[in-house]
Symmetry: C2
Subunit: 329 residues, 2 copies
Amino acid sequence: MAKIGPFEQLQAELATKMVAVNTLIRTRMVSKHAPRIPEVTAHLVEAGGKRLRPLLTLAAAKMCGYQGEDDVKLAAIVEFIHTATLLHDDVVDESDQRRGRPTANLLWDNKSSVLVGDYLFSRSFQLMVETGNLRVLDILANASAVIAEGEVLQLSVAQDLSTSEGTYFQVIRGKTAALFSAATEVGAVIAQANQTNVDALRDYGDALGISFQIVDDLLDYGGASAAMGKNTGDDFRERKLTLPVILAVAKASDKERAFWVRTIEKGDQNDDDLARAMEILHKHACLDITKNKALGWAKTAESALGPLPESALKSTLAELAGYVVSRIV
Amino acid sequence: MAKIGPFEQLQAELATKMVAVNTLIRTRMVSKHAPRIPEVTAHLVEAGGKRLRPLLTLAAAKMCGYQGEDDVKLAAIVEFIHTATLLHDDVVDESDQRRGRPTANLLWDNKSSVLVGDYLFSRSFQLMVETGNLRVLDILANASAVIAEGEVLQLSVAQDLSTSEGTYFQVIRGKTAALFSAATEVGAVIAQANQTNVDALRDYGDALGISFQIVDDLLDYGGASAAMGKNTGDDFRERKLTLPVILAVAKASDKERAFWVRTIEKGDQNDDDLARAMEILHKHACLDITKNKALGWAKTAESALGPLPESALKSTLAELAGYVVSRIV
């Protein structure tokens, strides 16, 4: 039998619980008073998202010996928060594709995306209260604030060529890693794990999330191999300062700097500019450097698991980060 | 000395607490990581909003004998939620004026309104967790979901001439009354009031909120006296089915119905149409009927206070609803 990858292993080990999570998501998405809501959310929730975040919550709880049913609620909560932020991101980015389908804001409109996002966030909040666990509520409330701060920070520095690598990490720690680390942390907390294990799983989620977002930003330029996919160049066209471009700006010749000023700062782009941007990114090895940073964070994630007792799930999570980076980019 | 109105009395009786509320709002609005946030929110939070919702929370807590400091947190929470929904409404309504100033989405943009709204909502959520009171969390989580449902329902029925009065009440109960009733209910809950008093204050908030929103919708057509203000007709131009128009559609002649179909359903409006709409509203006494419904709900609010022990604050709240309706419209 061919060896399956760590993500498929994770799905297999948590398959029964994930059935319950998916049922709960479908049940709680429904609104008696606003039947339009599931129409908007089904599009996202059923669209074959990987459900990585809920899997992380279930894995963390199981690794810490959790026996109850609240892990299912927590897993649904993190997926709801994730879906709400996607809906609000769709408004924000004026993006027209998400997971290969038209985004909700084109199918419906900006208004629905904002309000249905608010609804999902509220539903997640109701589920949290149902757990009756104030520590879980505290972690998720803080994560929500950090996510919003990261998104606002990203907006504030958009199109700003002076954005540093430090600011970039602050943005992705907020907009992506905060939910990954909350997902793993609450799993450990609900299992009443000791503080060392709670910290280990939180740090794992943080590093995995950072690695994951770096990969995402790298893929937007086709990955280290720069295979041009159908969404290649979205960040370039939206003039986002992601890691590849930040690295390129730092090493830019005068002529290259003028190119970035025109295309990113002033937004004056023509059809040849993406190809020219890729050329510059390659010249300075920015995509390779970016990939190596993603691999570094994957390694950090793996190391963070150190204190946890050995188990099949621990091995799976340890493999997961590096596997995602090396396989995709 | 001239008798001051009940709103000013409320402000006077709760002045010390409100100073603490305003300080807390300013402190918690700040974001270390995203300095742009207070710029966006200050615009709304400092813009001379009446702070009616936090006053209701403080009043409810005080009437039930509350001695602690968590009422200040709860009051800040309801103002944050209110501000967050205003920010998201500004995106939704494409409105260009709010409290006589340019809205945040014109000063900044839709993106900031969405994300800063999310931030404020998250901050309110953190404050709730700080109270450590699960019953309060439950009430506010439910209110948040009901608010979002009301907003989505409003969107679903926009421009739909078949919208019934029942649907209208469902919308305003969600988008407005849910936060009023949560504001008064949590004040009573934090004071550990008995269930009769908790219910009384919740029902008061619900009826006050309904009355308040009807007045708001009436004012959009200039009030019962139809004095044309600078924002008169916003709802008409945005093709919203509010109570005055719902009543007019129900009584419309064939010719009038054709007018509503063209202007509201099809959105084909010219400069004379608002005046023509007002004419039809007057012909069928729709503005007077709307005002009487607002007064009816004000009466319901007053009656709801019945079970509570007599106090200066109780008298003030009892006067408040009718006073707001009769004074403004």
